[in-house]
Symmetry: C2
Subunit: 234 residues, 2 copies
């Protein structure tokens, strides 16, 4: 099965959580919008052309005749196929729950630079962005990251002894926080030894290491979700 | 199986999407935090006492030995058990995808009154709330609701001929929008005939009708997600 991933071609964004799973599993996939006419194809599918299950927004995945949207839902689908999810239903739901909580965290990260909504430029919402970021740095980030740290209390991976797609996403969150909020994250990490250890363990996996060193890994930038604005880092 | 739902006892909030599914299916359930010592029991489980799968936030559901969090994940679990989801894997993923998009919409509704984050009171963020609400009323709500309307294009229910939990959630969204943004929603509804028809069809179902008329249905109020603040309705 050759999977087709559709996502914005110049950012990591939410698509990155799917890319990491595909890369770890060495799955056969195409990052369609990064190829010729790929963005036009993406916009067509978003508009419902040729599919009965159009997504509200990227990312979405084409797998045979299925078109599957919503990041966590794509990972739910891929998890069992790529060997990145537990075999029991209870285990799969638990990993999915963690992924949905990661998605909530990512939404709050996005809101630090867009508190007035996604349609206005960052520069038009600088003052509220400072306020929202302060609350995020001082309260929300610690609460979320502390929650994930707690799940790792027993050592190993977030849902037990085997790697799951949620571990790859936690790696990405540490990467993103270090990029966007380097000062705040350095402070936060003092209380997150297990999360940092998980990050390092994921980064050292051969397929992930090769991916990160490749051109397929897009660099963080100020069009994505994790953006570095010095004024928001306290 | 007697299900135990844990959610804040005085608001509809995200728990309402689960309540509607349980009520439609006439499932045996207890809304634990609304009973004696229920909130304390909820806080204990949130703190990880007696469970290996603690949730980041309510709602969560106890089903036998499983503790399942994240609204859409709970509905994914309940959907097949309560006859409120398709039988095929592709169908289940599609309904779940719609539910996750509903969850995104609900997050944006929440942000209309809390653009600076969940920790400050509404009164402390009135000016940014006005700006965020204007964008929401004029752009985001139309985009989301128009998307759901488009899915209903073929008539019937959102994922085909049979009722699913996502239809119940769409009913709730129409209810919530009418409560929170009566003026804006009256305008929006002119372009949402199928969504309004679905709302009416759900409201007329015997179990839903009985639920809405009962004391189990908490009234909308200004502690929940859908809040009516006249100044945010344009």
């Amino acid at each position: 099965m050759r999977y087709q991933l559709y996502y914005w071609p110049s950012i990591q964004g939410r698509g990155e959580f799917v890319r990491l799973a595909l890369e770890e599993a060495a799955a056969d996939y195409v990052d369609v919008a990064r190829g010729p006419r790929g963005t036009a194809a993406m916009m067509g599918l978003l508009a419902g052309k040729g599919t009965a299950t159009p997504s509200f927004a990227p990312p979405f995945l084409v797998a045979g005749r299925q078109v599957i949207g919503q990041t966590a839902n794509i990972l739910l689908f891929l998890g069992s196929r790529l060997g990145l999810a537990p075999k029991t239903e209870a285990g799969r739901l638990w990993v999915h729950q963690i992924q949905l909580t990661i998605a909530d965290f990512v939404d709050e990260v996005h809101d630090t630079h867009h508190p007035l909504g996604p349609m206005r430029y960052y520069e038009e919402q600088l003052a509220p962005a400072r306020l929202r970021s302060a609350e995020f740095r001082e309260q929300r980030a610690a609460k979320y990251l502390g929650y994930f740290e707690g799940l790792l209390a027993s050592g190993g991976y977030v849902a037990g002894r085997r790697l799951s797609y949620a571990d790859l996403s936690l790696f990405q969150i540490v990467e993103g926080m270090r990029y966007a909020f380097p000062k705040a994250m350095a402070r936060l990490e003092r209380k997150l030894p297990r999360l940092v250890a998980l990050h390092d363990k994921v980064a050292a996996r051969p397929n992930i290491r090769a991916y990160l060193a490749s051109e397929r890994r897009i660099a963080f930038n100020e069009d994505g979700i994790f953006r570095h604005y010095r004024e928001l880092d306290g």
